[in-house]
Structures are given as C-alpha cells and as structure tokens.
Amino acid sequence: MPYIPHSEEDRKEMLKTIGVDRIEDLFVEIPDDLRLKAPLNVPEGLDEYKLFGHLNELASKNMSASDAVCFLGAGIYDRYIPAVVGALISRGEFLTAYTPYQPEASQGYLQTIYEFQTMVAELYGMDLANASMYCGATAMAEGALMACSIKRRSQVVVSEAVHPHYRQVLETYCSPMDVEVKTIPALASGREESLDLVTEEAACLILQQPNFFGMITDIKAAREVCDRTGSLLLVSADPTAAGLLPTPGELGADIVTGEGQPLGIPMGLGGPLLGLFACRREYARQIPGRIVGRTHDEQGRLGYTMTLRTREQDIRRERATSNICTNEALMALAATVYMSAVGKNGIRSVAESTVQNTQYAISRLTEAGARIKYKGSVFGEFVLSLPIEASQVRDELHKRGILAGLPLGEYFEGEEHSLLVAVTEIRTKDEIDWFASELASVLDNEENDLWLVGASLDQSRVQVRQADGHVDARSVETIEKVTVTKSNWSIKDQFGLEMQFTDGALAEIHEEDTAGFEAVMAALSKQLEGWDEEWYEKVVYPPFEKNAAVVFERV
C-alpha cells in the first residue's frame, strides 16, 4: 500500500502485543449494521507514474495564465512570485508542521509569524496584525463582527464598491448573528455616493482600497463620518496598492483586512488564499485568530510563543472571539518570504510598475474603442465601457488567448457593457498592445459599429475611430463642439477646423425609421455622456425630429 509501511510480519507482531487475532477485531465497537460490507465504489488505485499522468491531463485541459495573458483581477492578481518563495515554503520542517502549540520545538515557524505580523502591520500602518485569517472575504466579515462586539451595535454599513463576493460573505456571516448589513450605493460614479447611511447605529463602515472598480477611496472623509457616529472604520486593502498609497492606518482606519494572495501566492483558482487582519492596539484582546509574541525563557533567552490565548476557541470555547483554529500559516510564510525578498524598494517598484502598465493599458484600450467608465484615480484596475456586451468581448478574447477581465453584468444589473480589467507589474507593453488590437478587431467585427468616440484616461485627447478602423486623435483642449446627426457626425475645433465623419451603421438607418433612430441616439448619447460632462454640455436632444442632431458643446 502506498505510504503504509507495515509488513505482514509487523502486523502479526503488533496484533500479538495488542492481544487480538485480526485487525477487524479492533473494530468490534462499531455495530455490525454500520460496517461497510462491500468495497467502496471508487476507481482502483494508481501507481505514481499513472497518477501524475492523470492529474497532468486534468491540468492540461485548463487554460491557465501560462497559456493565456491574464487581465483578470477582482481581488486575485497574476503577479510575479520569486523563486525563493516556493523553494522555502516547501521545506518539510515548515510544510509538515502543525500549529506551534509546543513553542520549544517550533521556534522557527513562530519567528516567521512574528516577522509576518510586523510586516503586515507596517504595510497597513497599523499597531498590530494577527497570524492570518482564511481569505480576504472572511477576514473582512470577522472584522465586521469584531466591530459589532466592540461597539455593542448590531449593524454594519458597507459600500457597494466593496468586492461583491466579500459582501456576500459578510451577509452570510452577519445574518445568523442578527447583524443588519446596509449598503451604500456606488455604481453611478464608481464611489460611495454619500456616507449619510452611516449613523450612530453602525458598528462600522466598511470600504475597500482601491475599491472593486479599481478606484482610490477617500478614507479621510470616511474617518470624519465615523468620528461623528462613533463607528469603527474597517478598510479592506489590497497589499500591493498599500505599498504605494497612504496607509489606511494613517488615514484613520481602526481595522484593516485584506487578501494576501498578491504577496507571493499562486492564484490557484482562488485557494488557498491568505486573510490579512490588522487593527489598533486597543483592540488586541478582541482580535480573532492567533497572535505570536516575544518573551523570554527561564535563562533569559528571547523566544516566541502564541499569546493572548484566552481569546481563542480551545480555551474560551463559546466565548471565544472567533471559531477559527486552522488558519493559513503556510500562505503567511509565503507572504513573509515575498515581503522579505522584494523588501522596501521592491514593493514600491511592483506598485509603480503596476500603475505605469495600468495607465498604458487605459490609453491603448480606449484607443481601441472602449471607454473608461468612471472618472478618477485608479490603481491597477479599471472599468471599461464597451459598445457591445462585456461577456461577448470576454468570450471572444478568451478564444484568442486573452483573459480580458470580469464582465460586471454578472454582479450588477444594467452593467452588461462594463468590463473590469486588471493590469499587474508583469504585463508587458507587447501583451497590452496585443490586447488592444484584439479588442479593436472584436469591436470592429460587430454590427453595432457606433463606437465613434472615446477619451483617453489622461483626458487630453479624443479618439475618433472611423468605420474602417482608423483611429484619429484630437486634443480635447482644442475641441469646441461635437455634433451627431443620424447620418454623420462632426467635430469642430477652436481653429474653426471641422471634421465630418460618416458612420456606416448610422447611414444604414432609413430616414423614416424613427424607432431605430431613437435607439441609435439613445446609445450614442449614453456613450458620450460618460466622458463629456466636464467639457461639453448637451445642447440639443430632439431625437424624433427630422435632421435632428445631438450637439455637445464646450461649457
């Protein structure tokens, strides 16, 4: 048998020592009618060669980030994992250890956890961090319940711009505890529209940094609201972004949670992950999970041990701060190696490269005929508005070897044209160019060829994509007026230069086809609305009249 070393001789001797004849005799306490009589109905065992072949075959059926270029993010990122991470966490002394209940035999692991806690606390600008939670979602939910017990309140307020899965897990955790979850809308602008929902009843306000749409959250404003209502501020923060942006701690967060996967952990179809959890010192005794502290032995030698143990389930049972036992120690170790390997300068470089690649992707993808849905600063991720359904783009690009992003229609009603795109430090200029050209070709092939105008994110140019796919750029500053009629549209710039464009799709609509015309105009004005509001004012919008035109003019 694989992994079972007993010889026939061993079994005989052991049974003799025990004083029974057969192994079956050891199972006498299981009532006969509960014992399995037939063999398990599962496949026969495989030798190691066949076993690897079998799993390898299953693996090869998937399209991984090694086969495709990954622009999917939404909390899980295709980042670089230094070779030292895998090499060090696969050392048997770490890999095959249990929770360090016997500190004298576990000093190595305990020290790495202490180092992990230090680096996470430093990353988030917090006083202390625990030894890990399951994942970003459960860490956030645990943080919310911790806030409820600190504040003795039974309501939490969460932004709609927090990862939808995290909000689902939050609901799941809160519901049996009779904790109410209120949601602040954020879909219109990509950020919390108003924080008015936060009242004296709220144990905490939960925001994400950067938020689910990639936008940078105004944590300071949230702090002010929480001060007024006496609520705690919980921020779910991406660790890479935290290496560049002002820390949640310095901006006033009381609890910071996050998904540690970007810190050297493979995407692995989303598991195992690493829940990060940090808070202010005053809440140390309410924190869920394990914490490692330094102390001394009788000879005065410095050593590490799990501490504040009376919070935990094995001691406090139903009064424990959480039910968590097994956590994500090995992933925390991976993160510790990663954080030590990239170090102070490396994390900054990873974050800056991410921003740089993101900005480049934004400019290229908007040139390709997509538009940026939300105005404002982003880190590593952004929402594209597409002229056709995002899932169609996703499926089409998937066939060409690009994981284009996450269609938001799966999560938000009416967002069928929105695609969440992530760009990490390892995406190259070539990969981004390729994504842009494939996107342009997908959009070109579409009947619905109304996508005439886009704005680059740096908002200095307007791109005009003509029916033949040729893209023409105009500096925004120079443009005075955009006029769209049913058969053509024109741009007039400050030098009096006027450019006329005839669009195939528009021209095809018959003069009398008012319904078709209305639909076209509605779509067009929707497209234009997103980017134009700052520079242009809608002047005329009489879609039913003959020779009607939509005119956008500089304010």
Binding site: P2, I18, K61, N62, M63, T138, L269, R290, D297, E328
Partner: protein, 489 residues
C-alpha cells in the same frame, strides 16, 4: 531534534542593509507616468527588510532547522492526524494548469479544474455516505460553521427558526464546536460523557427538546472511541426535530470501514488536511469539505460545483435558498488537487487500509504503554488513544512535563489537556504512515520518561534542555505584549 549547530537567526529586520534586494523583480517596459497625476498622494516607504537573496534563503532555512515537522520525526499530535504528506501531491498541485488559474475565468476555460472538484466530491460522497459534498469551507471550523448555518436555514424554512436557539455540544468536544455554535448565534448547552466514555444518553434525553437546533457529535469521539449508540442518539435528536452534526476530524478511523452518512447524521465536516493528507503547513491552509443529506441540499453555499442533466460539469449559482457564500471563491482548490492525488493513489482497495492501520497503530501504542500510562477508558480505541498521566502528579510531574521531556528525546509531544474531561490527558494519534520501529522508539522513550518521572523528576520539570529555548514565560508575553518588531526594543 538534533543539537543545534547554527545560532538562532536574529529577526530579519536586524539583518537589513539599505539597497539590498532578495529577488530579481520584473519592471514595467511601458512608458513612464507621472505617479502623482495617476494616483495622487503616496506613502512613505514600507519598512520591510532589505536583504540579499542568499542571506534571505539562509534566514528561512535556518529557521526551518529549528522547527519540528512530520518530515523531521514522529508527530503523534492527537486529533490532528499528522500523517505523511506525499510529495507527489505537491508536484500535482504545482502544475501551472492548476496553480495559475484565476477563480473568475470563464467556466469553459477550466473544465479540468471542475473535474478535480467533482472528482474529490465523488470520492468523499462514497467514503462518507452523504448525498452532497461541497468544498467551499476552507477549514474544519469553517465547515462546522457552514453546517450550522445550513441547519439554521433549514429550521427557518420550517418556521422553527426562532424556537430552536440551542446547540448541544458534548463536554468532550473540541473548542471549535461551541465557538462555531456561538458564531452562528446559538446558545450552547453541554452534554456530559458517561463513565464508559460514551455520550450520556439519559442526560441527552433530559435536555433534548424542541428548543434544540442541533447536536454536534464527534465520532469517533475525542476520547478516541467509537460512539456505539450513535444511531439511537441520532434518532433521539430527530424525534424532537433536531439535526445531528458530525465533527469529522476523526474520519481517519473510518475510511472504508464505516460511513457517517449511514450513522444517522444530517451533515458533517471533514478536514482534508487531516484525513486526506494535505499538509498542515504549520497551522493551515486547511480544507474543510462538508457532507450533507439531501434535505439540506437547498441551503448549501453557492456556487455549487455539480453535474447537469447529462452529467456535464456545471457551476450552479442559482440557489435562492442558499445560506450564501462562505469564502471568497471555491475554497482551497489546490488542496483539493492534493486530496484527489491522494485519493486516486489509494483507490477502492487501498482506502480501507488507511483506517485499519491507523487503528492498529493506535491500539499498539495503547497496549505498549498501558502499564505506565493507563488509557482513560479501557476499550479498544480507534485511531488515537487517550492516556492519563494523573498518577505522576504525586511525583510532582504533569502531562505537560512528560511532553516537554519527549521533545528532548526527539519526538513531538502528543496533544495535552484535550479533551478537557480527562485529567492529565495525553492524546496520542500515530496515524497509519508510521512504522512499527518508530512506534517502538516512541514507546521506549515514553517508558523511559515515566521511570524518570518517578526517580528523577527534575529531568522532566526542567525540560526541554536541548532546544534553542526552554519553557517560555507566557505571562510575560501577555503582559509586555510584543507582537511587532521595533527598532528600539
């Protein structure tokens, strides 16, 4: 553990020197941007260590050398099933076709991954006898919580949600059981264990009424004993409309021999990181699959990995009665890959040998040690034996002292002081992967220690002596809380 030849590594922060870096990181080849224009304000630099790659490797390698794992030696930690973690599992889980999958990829791009999840689910259905399995819970305690949430939703669907607000937990239960019940909004009531080590059925009858939502039973119990009246217990709870949850931490005793789904249980959790050999990793990641009978199916966490009408794999997210999502994505997928590798290696003929040899090994240790450390209950044990060291108290020696001395003799100690109802408890779980010689060496060491306890107890009281540190001052750790390195400390 062997005597140390390298000094204990300093905290990594004390090795940091400006300008060093421990890896060769990729840098963007796209045009430079104005950072302030792109993201606005930025932070001060992150005070993470700056250390060269070789020194980094040495730091963590040296730390690993002062850490005990199954690979280092015998690790009979009761209730934790510290069995060998096959290396082939690490190889399959590292395949890029698994490791580099994004959880939000289109379903059509991950057919092999869905097959892995279905494959594990099929094995586990057959092994546990339950109708349904999901692997979304990520650890044992998380599985407990998920099961209780489903039970709560089930009672609510029958209009009994408010009335049933109590969860019964045996006095021998693991701490996560009552903690999970509390996390699910339940009041906890304890059910005593009788003199034989079984659930006290009369006491259960007395507390079991229509206010009880569920009874959480560990089978085999944390005393390492099979609950012989389990069917009667389940019937008793069901008669009053309650549900019975099985804590499956001890599944290693049952694989291929008996199935909790046939015992009368409504649902259970499994720890794939115990029974199915996914590595414990120093305290996680775990993998907490749950099994359940069909009446609870509607409440399972979404999405479900399941099969469609013609057996095709589907991800089912349309579950109106579901308790919702319990973790970020599909649970610990790469752990499922490891578990499938393990299950497929054993197959139908091999799987029952796991339980048979786990039980053989535990009974062997119990037999060899019975004269020096009597079992708490003198019955055939299952995969672990629970011994008591109470007679050594008169020599001023406690179970913990025996454990600390074991460390110096090169063994990881058993679990101490759990279950709480056994005085000076030593819970020994050898697992099936240990050879007779290893068990003999361990038993010889235990017998030696028991002699020392009587004759020279200083050796135990002052143990361990050969490690990088001796017993640590826990009170100081709490009082002068030092959980984050600071330059001036």
């Amino acid at each position: 553990m062997t005597t140390r030849t390298v000094p204990t590594p300093k905290p990594i922060f004390e090795k940091s020197r400006p300008g060093r870096i421990g890896c060769n990181i990729p840098v963007a080849d796209t045009p430079k941007v104005d950072l302030a224009a792109a993201v606005g304000e930025t932070r001060d630099s992150v005070a993470w260590p700056e250390i060269g790659e070789l020194d980094l490797v040495r730091h963590f390698t040296n730390l690993s050398q002062i850490n005990y794992g199954i690979d280092t030696g015998f690790y009979p930690l009761g209730s934790c099933t510290m069995k060998y973690n096959p290396r082939i599992n690490e190889q399959t889980a590292a395949l890029p076709g698994f490791a580099r999958l994004h959880p939000m990829q289109p379903e059509e791009s991950i057919p092999g991954a869905i097959e892995v999840m279905l494959g594990v689910q099929d094995f586990l259905k057959e092994i546990t006898g339950f109708d349904e399995i999901t692997m979304q819970p990520v650890a044992g305690a998380h599985g407990e919580l998920t099961c209780l949430m489903m039970i709560k939703a089930y009672h609510e669907s029958r209009g009994e949600g408010d009335q049933r607000n109590i969860v019964l937990v045996p006095d021998s239960a693991h701490g996560t059981n009552p903690a999970s019940a509390a996390r699910c909004g339940y009041k906890v009531k304890s059910v005593p264990t009788d003199a034989e080590g079984n659930t006290d059925i009369e006491a259960l009858r007395a507390v079991m009424d229509e206010t009880v939502a569920a009874f959480m039973v560990t089978n085999p119990s944390t005393l390492g004993l099979f609950e012989p009246h389990i069917k009667e217990i389940c019937d008793l709870v069901h008669e009053k409309g309650g549900q019975v949850f099985c804590d499956g931490a001890n599944m290693n005793a049952m694989v291929g021999v008996t199935r909790p789904g046939d015992h009368g249980f409504d649902c259970m959790h499994l720890n794939l990181h115990k029974t199915f050999s996914t590595p414990h990793g120093g305290g996680g990641p775990g993998c907490g699959a749950i099994g359940l009978q069909s009446h609870l199916e509607a409440f399972m966490p979404a999405p479900l990995v399941t099969r469609g009408a013609v057996g095709e794999p589907v991800l089912d997210d349309d579950r109106p009665q579901s308790i919702g999502r319990v973790s970020s994505f599909f649970g610990q997928f790469l752990m499922a890959v490891r578990a499938l590798t393990y299950l497929a290696a054993y197959g139908s003929d091999g799987l029952p040998e796991i339980a048979r040899h786990a039980v053989l090994n535990a009974n062997y240790i119990k037999a060899r040690l019975k004269d020096v450390l009597p079992p708490a209950h003198d019955r055939p044990c299952m995969h672990e034996c629970i011994l008591t060291a109470k007679e050594y108290k008169k020599y001023g020696v406690r179970a913990l002292d025996i454990s600390k001395r074991l460390i110096d003799l090169g063994f990881h100690p058993p679990t101490n002081y759990f279950p709480l109802i056994v005085p000076e408890c030593m819970m020994i779980e050898p697992t099936e992967t240990e050879s007779k010689e290893t068990l003999d060496e361990f038993c010889d060491a235990m017998i030696q220690i028991c002699t020392e306890a009587r004759e020279d107890h200083e050796l135990l009281i002052n143990a361990p002596q050969k490690q990088v540190v001796g017993r640590l001052n826990e009170a100081e750790a709490v009082k002068n809380l030092d959980v984050k390195w600071q330059a001036d400390r």
